[in-house]
Symmetry: C2
């Protein structure tokens, strides 16, 4: 019979652990002195303790180990538990590898640029949303900016504020032509089938923006210069972290557009649908 300290030393565990296992009923001492409350362990309890430690090593929780030791678990059930554990482990392994890549790209960035860059690329998922929009093809940036402004202003006037949500520009230039193939419109609070005619012959048509599970996003001031550097940043991030672009990029105007041309004060969220690179 050993007192708790000796037994702990033999088994390479802490006394606190033994007391805790006692409390959980996983490993009661062979004897407890009723006078003093001292716990006395027999060397014959070592196999049981080792079973506990081995099962813990496999990643099982102490709660799960209890029934196992009492042989209340069939091999099939244990197999199922372990298979689940394996799946969880594989999942977390993949996640940690992703994180490792994140960290390494961030370290490389510090080394390259000698400073701290932007931290704000975030992966999120977005739900499908009704979208009242205009498809158009623009020759150059200036034309695109004018068009966005037109849609923004006329849309703001003609769509009820309670229905209108945010201005969104989807870049659909598949084969990057010279031309910009854009879809410009407003997301809506709820579905609506009404098309809306705006200035001249332009027409906003009801449609839907599809949901995207993994969307790499970055929030930036909407000045054109900053927008350009944001695209660079998010592109590097996507590449460095083992993703690839998977669909059309969106620019979400988080604030209603006001002020002078150029959207200087606007706040824009750039969104790239991504998936793990092949």
């Amino acid at each position: 019979m050993f007192r708790i300290g000796e037994f702990a030393q033999i088994a390479q565990v802490s006394g606190r652990q033994l007391r805790f296992y006692d409390q959980l009923g996983l490993l009661r001492p062979a004897r407890i002195d009723p006078q003093t409350g001292y716990r006395y362990y027999s060397i014959r309890q070592l196999p049981r303790l080792n079973s506990i430690l081995a099962l813990k090593e496999l990643g099982l929780s102490l709660e799960q180990i209890g029934p196992l030791l009492k042989n209340e678990i069939s091999p099939a059930e244990l197999r199922a538990m372990l298979t689940m554990k394996r799946a969880q482990l594989e999942q977390s392994l993949r996640e940690e590898e992703t994180r490792l890549r994140h960290i390494e790209s961030r370290i490389a960035q510090i080394d390259r640029r000698g400073g701290i860059g932007d931290y704000d690329v975030v992966v999120k998922s977005v739900a499908a949303t009704p979208f009242l929009s205009l498809r158009c093809s623009c020759e150059n940036m200036d034309e695109a900016v004018r068009m966005v402004r037109t849609v923004a202003e006329d849309g703001s006037r003609q769509i009820r504020p309670a229905l209108r949500d945010k201005l969104i520009v989807v870049a659909r230039n598949d084969h990057d032509d010279e031309k910009l193939d854009l879809e410009i419109g407003f997301s809506l609070m709820r579905a609506s089938n009404a098309n809306i005619r705006i200035s001249g012959d332009l027409m906003l048509r009801a449609g839907e923006l599809p949901a995207v599970d993994t969307m790499a996003t970055i929030v930036r001031p909407g000045t054109n210069a900053a927008s350009h550097s944001s695209f660079g940043a998010i592109g590097m991030w996507i590449e460095a972290n083992g993703f690839e672009v998977f669909g059309p990029c969106r620019e979400v105007f988080l604030e209603p557009i006001t002020g002078p041309p150029g959207f200087e004060g606007a706040l824009v969220e750039i969104q790239f649908p991504v998936r793990a690179a092949a």
Copy 2:
């Protein structure tokens, strides 16, 4: 200005999180209504929140993120933090891979044998210990068993109980001859240079058992039959989990030997020094 729920929805976080970040001072709401205590967030706080989320993704703790956002951290310090994180991550990746192998070998074992095997292989580290022992070469198992018994009995008589610790047999058969090359003796509570003569011309000489960092161990009843199966079990375990045997195996008798020949009632811990397989 958004109330907490809307802002949470936009940023894909929970309201609880926002309140928590407020409490930590990481992200105070743009305004708090002094009447009602309602928190109001500006969309312009989204970049800061995204910074927090991105840094969290890198594995930094919220405590570490605070100073970062206040620009109280130089790039070099950040680099150091991330490098440390990377090392930790790589370490935990290796550990999880090891666990994954453990689990897979356990599943395979269930599938092969249709049942639950022994759970009790445990890795521990053992310290160096003074060792009073006899080196001998035995032709067969019977001779070895007799020799162990002789050392056990004579040693128990001739070494003071306060000095004597446990009977240990080290198997030194390097090139597995027919013969068993054993070292049989007692570990001691403290160093001693006294050699001890036991029955006949046999002599226990003072020496030392070296420390071993990673020792795969299993505790078993000392019956010879059970001992055999234990060796099989531990061998399979070592192989399945990507280790290799690295030195001489030890058998530690956890209880003083009593009773009839064969050590039927004894409790033995088998120890194999191991290292990651090449």
